[in-house]
Every structure is written in C-alpha cells, then in structure tokens.
Symmetry: C2
Subunit: 510 residues, 2 copies
Amino acid sequence: MKRLALKARPLDMETGRNIVVIHENDSQEIGHFPGDRVKLITERKAIVAIANETNKLVRPGELGAFREVTEALSLRPGDVVTVEIAPRPQSVASIKKKMMGGKLTFDEIGTIVRDIVDGNLSTTEMTAFVVSEFIRDMDLDEIVALTQHMVDTGDRMEFEREHVLDVHSIGGVPGNKYALLTVPIVAAAGLIVPKTSSRAITSAAGTADVMEVLANVTLGIEEIKRIVNKVGGVLAWGGAVNLAPADDIIINTERQLSIDPRCQLLASVMSKKLAAGVNSILIDIPTGPGAKVESIEEARNFAHDFIELGHKLKVQVEVAVTYGGQPVGHAIGPALEAKEALEALLGKGPGSLIEKSTSLAAIMLELGGAAAPGLGKEMAMEILRSGKAHQKMREIIAAQGGNPDIKPEEIPIGDKKEVVVAPYSGYVTQIYNQNINEIARAAGAPRDKGAGILLLRKKEGKVDKGEPLFEIYAEHESKLDEALEVARRKFPLKIEGMLLEKITHRPRVV
Amino acid sequence: MKRLALKARPLDMETGRNIVVIHENDSQEIGHFPGDRVKLITERKAIVAIANETNKLVRPGELGAFREVTEALSLRPGDVVTVEIAPRPQSVASIKKKMMGGKLTFDEIGTIVRDIVDGNLSTTEMTAFVVSEFIRDMDLDEIVALTQHMVDTGDRMEFEREHVLDVHSIGGVPGNKYALLTVPIVAAAGLIVPKTSSRAITSAAGTADVMEVLANVTLGIEEIKRIVNKVGGVLAWGGAVNLAPADDIIINTERQLSIDPRCQLLASVMSKKLAAGVNSILIDIPTGPGAKVESIEEARNFAHDFIELGHKLKVQVEVAVTYGGQPVGHAIGPALEAKEALEALLGKGPGSLIEKSTSLAAIMLELGGAAAPGLGKEMAMEILRSGKAHQKMREIIAAQGGNPDIKPEEIPIGDKKEVVVAPYSGYVTQIYNQNINEIARAAGAPRDKGAGILLLRKKEGKVDKGEPLFEIYAEHESKLDEALEVARRKFPLKIEGMLLEKITHRPRVV
C-alpha cells in the first residue's frame, strides 16, 4: 500500500460529504483514480474521503480539503496528513450484485443503507444502486429488509397505545387536502394519528405546505410526541425529523432521473410510518388519468404489494383506491386549500373533499377499533357534522402554535387575481392535473402561500362561452402574468361539444 | 419561467464541467432542485450549467461560478447574470428509454454521445446511461450507432492506402508486449500500422508504457501520420490524441463501478480504430483462467460480436483467441518488457512471445494482402529471423524520437532486486495473473519504468525447494519491500505435488 504525506490546504466550501482533491502527480504516485476513496490519517484521527484529482487547485504535495474534511480532522493549513488508497466499502460489491440481477441478503441491504446514510457512497455508486433498483426491482424479502434498515438508520418515535394510526397518500392529485379533515375526525374519536407529511416537490402544495398556513409544522420528535399525547393528532412536516433519512437521500437521485422504483416507493412509505411508531396504516392510491397511478389494475397491484409488505412487517395495512382523475375539491395552493379545509370542517365544503376525507377516516376508525366494521363511515360523518372534528382541528392548530380561532375568510389569499373564462361553449370532459399544478406553481405556489387556483368548474357539466372556469391567485403581478401565460399554453380543462365525432358514410347499396 | 438576476462570485476552482452554486433561498425562488440545469445569461452570451445549492458558500443574490463558467462567460465579480431553470437535454429522456429497456434510435444515441463529449450530462445521468448499458445491453444496430457517433465526435486520421491495419488486444494478461514485435513485422512487409494503445489502468504495463521506455509515445495526429507514412508503423499513446473521446469519459464511470458493459467494450475498441483510419482490424482475445475472458465459449461469443460489428461498419475484422492463462514471455513491467521485446527481435526471445507475435502478424499479413492465405506465418517468421523486423523497429524508434541504436542490456532496470525461491518442491500448476500485476504495481510499475517482475519459472515443470521462481525489480527500496509483502500474501505461482488427492476407502466386502 503506497502512502503519501501531504500538507493540508483547507478549501472553504462545503460539499455535503467527505471530499478532497489531490494533485494528479500525487494521485498517480499512490495509484489513485478520480472518484476512488482515500484514507486520511492524522495523529489524532483517520477518516475515509472520496478524492478527485486536479492539476490546478492544489500543488503537488498538497491535500485540498473541503469543509467537511477540514472539520472532521480539525485541519489547519500545513498540517501533515498521510494519504493512502482506501478499499471500496463492502456495499459497492452488493450494489454490483443487484446490478447483475442478484437477490440481496438482509445484511447486504443493511450495509448499503448504512453507507447511504453515512455519506460513504459516491454519486456514481448511489446512482448505480437506484438505477439497479429501478431495472432489477426487489422481491418482498428485499423490500422488507430495505424498510427495516431504513427505519433502523434514523430516529424513532414510540407511543404507548395499541393502535397508532396514519394515512399516506401516494400523491399525484392536486388539491388533496383531505388530511386536514381526516386527521381531526380520527383524533376526535379518541384515536391517535402522528401524521408526518411532505412539502410539495413538483405539485402546488403538499400537506405540510397547507398546514403551515394555519400552524407551525417544523416540529421535533419530542414536540410531536407531546402534541399527539395531548390532543391525539398532529400534522407535522416530515422533513424536520430524522425518520428514515436514507429515503430523503435516495429521493434526490430518483428526482434527477424522474424515476420512482416500485421497491423504493414501497419501502419509503412504510419506513417513514414505522419510524413514526405507526402500526395501523391506510394507504390512499389516487387513480385516474393524470394521477400517478392511471389504471385500476395498477392500483390493485400496488395495493397488494403494500398489504403483503405490511403483513411481513407485522403492521396493519389497508389500502383505499380513490378517484384521482381531477383535483379534490376546488382549491389548489397552500392558503386556498387551508381555507377550503376549514370551511369543510365548518360544514360548507365541496362534496368531493368531504366524501374522500370521511371515507378515509371511516377506514381508520375501523382499523383503530373505534368503529365496528361497516360503521366507520357513519361515525366519521357524524363527527364532522357535529362539529367535533372542527373542534379537534382547533386543538391541533393551537398545540402546533397556530391561532385556533382563525376563520376561513381571515386566511390571506394572494391579492392579485385573474378570472379565466370559457373560450367557447361545450362540456368539460377532462381536467388536466399536471397543467393545474404547473399554473399554480407559476403563480408562486407552494412558496407564495397565497398563490394558487380556484376551480369554478370541474369535470362534467355544460359551460357557456364566456362563463368563468377558474381563478388564478398570486402575491406578485409578474407571477400572475406568468401563470396566465402557462394557462394559455396548457389549458387545464378540456371542453368538447356533445358531438364528439362525425362519421360520414355513403348509404350502402343493397 | 421564473428568472433571477444574481451577482457573479467567481470561485477559483475547476470542476471539469459547467457548474455553479446558488443560495438555497434563490434556488427555491426559481423552483430549482440540486443537480438541475440552469441557463446563465449575460449581455454577451448564454450557457447552460448544472447548479447545486448551498447555504454557506454564497449569499442570497449571489451566483458562485466555478472556473469553467467564469471563463465561458468572462465573468468578473459583481457582474449580473440572469438565471433561469433550463430544460434537461433530450438525451436524458433517451437514457431513461434505455433504462426502461427500449431500443435507441441512431439519432437518440447520437444525442447521448454528443452530450457526453460536451460535458452536458451530470454524474447521475452519466452513471444511469452506463448502468443501463450494462444491464439492458444493446443490439447490433445500437452498437453500430454508438461506434459511429463516438467516431464522429472526435478527431480522425486518414491514410491513402487500401489496407490500414491494426491489432488490438482486449487485455487481461500480464507481459503482453507482442505489439513491439508484431507492428514492425507487419510494417517491414510494406503494410501500414498506425497503432495507438493505452497505458496501464490496473495492470503493470500497457503497450504505451512499454514503448515509452524506447521512444516518445505522446504524439499528435499529424506526427502519427507523418511517421506512419514514412516508416509504415507507429506505437503511440492513444490518450494523447482526441480519437473517440466519449470513450475516455465513459471508461471513467465504468472503472468506478468495476463494470465493462459488452456493448460499450465493442463500440470502444471499434471506434478508436475507425477514428484512426484503420480498415483491417485484428482483435486478440487472451483467454484462460485469470484473463479477462476465462472460457473459450465466451471468447467465441465476443469474436462473433466483433466480426458482425465489423461487417456492419464495413471494415475487415478478424479475431485471434490466444492463450491468456499465464503471462506472455517472462518479463512484466515497462523496462523489463521493452528489453525482452528487443531481445526477441534480435532472435533471443521466449517461445511464447515469439509464437504469439508472429501468429498475430501472420493474420495481419494475410488481411493486408502481403501474404497469400495460409502463408502469413511463414512470412512473419522469416521477417523476424532475417532481422528485417528488428531493422523496422529501429526505424520506428528513431521516427518517434528514441535512440535507434539502444541495446537490450542498455535499458535501465530497477537496481533494487530480490529473488523469490520455491518454498517447497512440487509442480507449477498455475500462475495467478492478477497477483503478478499486483506485485509488479507494488514494486512501482508502470510509473517506475524499471520496476517489475522477471518470471524464471512458468506453468508446468517441476521445481525444487529453494529454487529461484521469480525476481522482483524496483527503483526504490521501500517499494521493493511492499512488493515482497504483497508477494507473500498473494503468491503468484501455485506449486503442487504430483499427489493431488488422497482417497482412502475400505476394501469392499464381496
């Protein structure tokens, strides 16, 4: 093993993992190639870093250390660091095994997940893992192992209750603010729901973005536990806690390639819930044209996977396939959705939102033993109608540091507004979910809380030329203009005449 | 499309491609995620770069520009740059198609290769391509397209001759210095051989490393053409010319994952040769335990692929499957190999080297029309025996700026030497190629030209305890020690008694 003594040259930049640069002469001397690992040894400590080579940034004999390495080794300029080639971590061999189509053992998956969380894999190795997951997939044993190791490599919550419930929507439908009704309904029945959710990645608003309009969602593990133990439910942002952190790292690679490997999606959802101490899980699979899952067959396969996985992981899992072919309710965007949810809790909400929220709550009430089988729906509707869900939501808002007395009309909505009318008469035969998202995002959502869309017309029903179809709200004039431009290019409603096709044929000569 | 006007802050570091960093607040503002592309617009010019986000390196409102971007846009500190999200290049969609198992069109492959050469792909995208190539493979049409685009995106050489010959060994066998005999034999027959070759990556010496002991191998395209037109042959380093540069970039990713996708290997070899103007190619596939190709079936499949590919690309291809189960000749390491090759040209070389070199030359002489079918071997042996090959090699060395009069014994070999003897008596039943390479590399090869191994005994034949087996040469005492340590752990010869197994059984009772 060749070793070199190099002089530290701290480079004032963070890189997110342990990275150093060495001069290409030194690199050749120790037989190093770009991207290989090196062991860095000082009198006090030794760490492994990924090394790149340069012929400019440092001189021969120098070790360029980015901030993470400088801090880990407490390096000062000129400190002597012994550098030698470090072996690849064992997980790289396991990634290659998956690449070649092999089945990974429980321990092999554990090593991969551990190295992901510890930042031991290079971008190249990390990508090789995610692409192999996508192409080769994993069987149930492997997904169970992946889930368990993702749970084990992060923090965990525990609640001293027989049933700890949660609901997770795999997403893909705009305006999906059901959780702001479902969680308080279930909590009002005396069950506990430590719901963690995400912010929007490509949509106009995630549950965390919507809840943030009403209360603080950046809560630590202890706060979440305290709130749940006090009021039964919480609506917190999952990104603020360290539950199954491998998932967040893997998602970044998936996003760059626009892929969503089935095995990783399953493990991702289950690991987040298990780490949160949940043992009774309802999975919502919005299904329909323009949703993440487009066909009922695909939804059923997914449902089967989730249920099997739950069985292996010894947690209760039920799956609801819901209609995802158009937005839930009328409001899209954080503040508009928060307003619509509060209105619905007060009994004035749109049918699709109330129907979805209570149907999901019904399953959870039965899962948690609060309602007898078949009676959950009635109980959910009663909790909503009686105002108990509304009262519970006020308690949750207060517990999360929001204003419990806020009225829907007090929620600030963007004051720049434009109404878009029907360009011609006809029937609304389709709503394009993706276009709705793009327009709302152009208007500023989810970052500008007041930005978004209010759909005045949905699928089915006749519209007349000039009749208002939807309103765009924004906080900035320039973004309203951008949103209008997107709306023109990508009109979100399909309007057709009753005459869908005209077939001309000559009378058949007998 | 959201835009931001940011102030340039040049960061004095090269990154190998266009990379910028922006503050995470600004990143959110324009809806950017780490690894996405941004368009950078100044009054003079616009370029696309990959952006990462930070919360430390730059302040909100600043654009951290690494050296490539600073230079491309001629940025000075404080210059205003307009930043907006740029779409992913079309090639990313094609990479996803391959990931999903699709067949790529000629144009799709062209876009991918172009983006690789232009540095437009992120590490993640680049890796996704290479891993998909490895798992999904490519059919012949795709490999033809890959080869042609790899040729088209680099420089090219042309020779005004009916036959332009070359020989390429896919490698994996130590001491493979055959080209130093084969090239001058073929050139001595009046044919032309513009041989470009590589330096060692994981072995003890590449052809370029060996030739560099005798002459300059870092030659430009014009020099190579001039030399070939003058003396018929050249032995140049491929890394000094821009032939099929996509290959060099792809190989870096392959190396990090220790994978060698079949389709990429085929395209790599063929594109380098086509770009060099070669139209008659001999492929050498060393086969045997410890070689890159271990079984004769695998070698035949490879041979078939190469021949089919040559047919499609309208070049002559022949394949020689040679014995690769132990080193060629006795010498391993640049100077030791150069010395052995010169000795063989003078008629004093080891049988395996002369046999391999003249057999390959024979095929090339017939390919190039210098020898009638079946008469190549005789002609090659005659050229070698007569001293014409030796004379030609002297011409090539002179043309490449070396000393044409150098004698084998004048080649400097490392003056630190250790002889390793047989630890017990027995028969040499195997030579471990990989261990040979590791010991020679520990001794300093290929960087220390004089470092390496001289094998005194090869496979088969009895050795007595204490009899010298091999010599290790090094230029530095410390490296000699390291090599000895490696040799102890990974002994390169297997010595067995004649009694391979002892089976004891009770006499059968009838």
